[in-house]
Amino acid sequence: MKFETQIGGHAGTLSIDADRLHYQREGGDPVACEFSCEQAGEGAYTVLLNGASYQIVLLPAGEVWVNGSTFRAEVFDPRGLRGRRGPDSETGRKSIAALMPGRIVRVLVEAGQTVEAGQGLVVVEAMKMQNEMKAPRAGKVAQVKAQPGTTVAAGEVLLVLE
């Protein structure tokens, strides 16, 4: 069985053949050895490689904890369909999204207003910390979605620049 891997931002490949694995990170030395892998509770696993012990816990959102470190990690079946989407086309419109879950404290601009790069747009507060969202570039405020006093999720669009 062959897999493509993305572990902590590094691409690689993994082959499994009976009790042996072969892992090759792009540009790294290959790891080839016998393995032992057992489930050790809900979402928890123990892996032995070359006599070394790895304690692994699967976390939500594609993250994996291993021996005290947390990685974003994914494997792909190369036979599967996984057409990667290209970068979003440049339409000139730029959505400003909340970086963290929180509550809108102040909206500093209005629709139709021209803003400079670095100008404050919206103030979001979470856990007693205020975060001022700034314009990534100069432009005109096309739309304001943020409402003072309301709660927003991370990634929710607060306003649109054009």
Binding site: T5, I16, G43, A126, K128
Partner: protein
């Protein structure tokens, strides 16, 4: 001793207080907001009272509702913890008027010390060195500009009623002063219900070292030595330790700072536990900063090194008992370090990361103390401080204590929300941290020099293996599984 005590707080400190009360055979009453019905402190307490909506201004800051709850549950005393109403003299007064003991200093001592500007005046009168600056809040813009120019930039804006970095801003240029004052004042108003802000000279790259004090109502007052809290981010402490590495090089400094702290406390008629904060410059000069008229977040490191339970003594002192420990009795044994585990994401500039904790495994073992306020499945609310837990370790030497902390951090798993656990791992292996070369600018420099540990390819292979076996048996990403999917997936592969 008291029969029943209300804990006017939430999170890990409410849990800490309920534990102390149970050890003292005192019944506990928790209070909670809409966001905290399932919180550990509510589950642990003997009784619990709903206060109101999630925002602190409608729950944990409501003096009227808390006093009403205390009356209805016939408590003898209220422990305010830290933050919220802990340094609010009006709350202490309201307790007294209701015939309830406030576990902390007197309202008069809070007024003398709780306002940083009043505390400065008192410290000057008591002969303690202070940082140049204003002695009262500045509301007029022209006045603020004039004072800042006289002191010389960079200056520091601080909330008169505050602590913990809330309402604090560094200002490097005169033109930045108006915006910084507006932000600091609005943040202070939200956090403390008082928007007053004052101006102070910024001492460049000082150490933050504080002295723990403890006094009773019979004139006994002692200090329990220092805590070094120089490792700060946005003026928020993240790592604290006792002893300070400075004290190992300058053995006389602890006694000198302790004496200065006691003089200030004596001048204010201080009782209960409190903390006198100082800045220490490179020449080992120290300047009085402020007094925190409450139990500190970082009190466990003092407890670990002195074997004195500060909360038990707060209870006894509030009940009128005699402080039976004298200054000569205090011994500082070994070294303790504390890491504040926050719900925030080191990968995105430490932005808050509230949400549901899906996976939680906590460290334990020799020399490890965990003061936690969360559990697996708990939804960390966005309304409050991001502190999830405090992980403290003790060992005979600083080096061993750091090593023990590394070990404990390696056992700690939090999934579902982001935490700063990985950040501590990086800081604790930093050579400058290991050498004890600390200042409040430590982290600024640290972020410039920190490097990633070498890749562990075998570890990557182990991660890939588990995910691949999971992927093979289930076509979707495995959720923390109850089934034996891994086993069947593997058997499938081996066929």
């Amino acid at each position: 001793m008291f029969r029943k005590v209300l804990v006017a707080n939430r999170g890990e400190i409410a849990v800490r207080l309920i534990r102390a009360l149970r050890e003292a055979k005192v019944a506990s009453v928790a209070v909670y907001s809409d966001a905290d019905r399932l919180a550990p402190h509510v589950q642990m307490a003997d009784e619990a009272v709903h206060l109101g909506a999630a925002p602190a201004s409608e729950s944990y800051l409501r003096i009227d509702k808390i006093i009403d709850a205390a009356r209805r549950h016939s408590v003898d005393a209220i422990h305010p913890g830290y933050g919220f109403l802990s340094e609010n003299a009006d709350f202490a007064d309201a307790c007294a008027q209701a015939g309830i003991i406030f576990i902390g200093p007197t309202a008069s001592a809070i007024r003398k010390l709780g306002s940083k500007t009043a505390a400065r005046k008192l410290a000057i009168a008591a002969g303690a060195p202070v940082v140049p600056g204003t002695e009262s809040g500045i509301s007029d813009e022209h006045e603020a500009q004039r004072i800042a120019r006289n002191i010389g930039f960079p200056v520091l804006l601080k909330a008169s009623a505050g602590g913990g970095g809330k309402g604090m801003r560094r200002v490097d240029r005169a033109e930045d002063l108006p915006a910084a004052r507006r932000d600091a004042s609005s943040e202070a108003l939200r956090a403390f219900g008082n928007g007053e802000v004052y101006i102070e000279k910024l001492i460049v790259e000082p150490r933050h070292i504080e002295i723990q004090i403890l006094g009773d109502h019979h004139g006994n007052l002692i200090h329990l030595g220092e805590r070094e809290c120089s490792v700060q981010r946005r003026h928020q402490k993240v790592i604290e330790e006792c002893p300070s590495p400075v004290m190992l090089e300058h053995p006389g400094l602890r006694a000198k700072m302790g004496e200065a702290a006691l003089n200030i406390a004596r001048a204010a008629g201080y009782t209960s536990a409190g903390t006198v904060e100082f800045l220490v410059d490179r020449d080992r000069n120290f300047y009085f900063l402020e007094v925190n008229t409450r139990l500190q977040v970082e009190h466990p490191v003092t407890e670990l090194v002195t074997s004195i339970d500060l909360v038990q003594w707060q209870l006894r002192i509030a009940a009128g008992e005699l402080l039976t420990i004298s200054q000569q009795d205090i011994r500082w044994t070994g070294s303790a370090i504390e890491c504040r585990v926050y719900a925030e994401d080191p990968a995105s500039g430490f932005l808050p990361s509230p949400g549901r904790i899906e996976v939680l495994r906590e460290p334990s073992g020799p020399g490890v103390r965990l003061d936690s306020g969360v559990f697996e499945g708990w939804n960390v609310p966005l309304e409050y401080d991001p502190l999830l837990a405090k992980l403290a370790t003790w060992a005979p030497s600083r080096e061993d204590s750091i090593q023990r902390m590394q070990r404990a951090l390696g056992e700690y798993v939090v999934g579902g929300i982001r935490t700063n656990l990985s950040f501590f791992v990086d800081v604790l292996r930093d050579p400058q941290f290991r050498a004890g070369n600390l200042s409040t600018a430590f982290l600024d420099h640290f972020f410039d020099r920190v490097s990633l540990p070498p890749a562990n390819l075998e570890q990557e292979a182990a991660v890939a293996l588990v995910l691949a076996l999971a992927r093979h048996s289930h076509k979707q990403t495995p959720s923390p599984a109850k089934s034996s999917w891994l086993q069947s997936g593997r058997l499938d592969l081996l066929r």
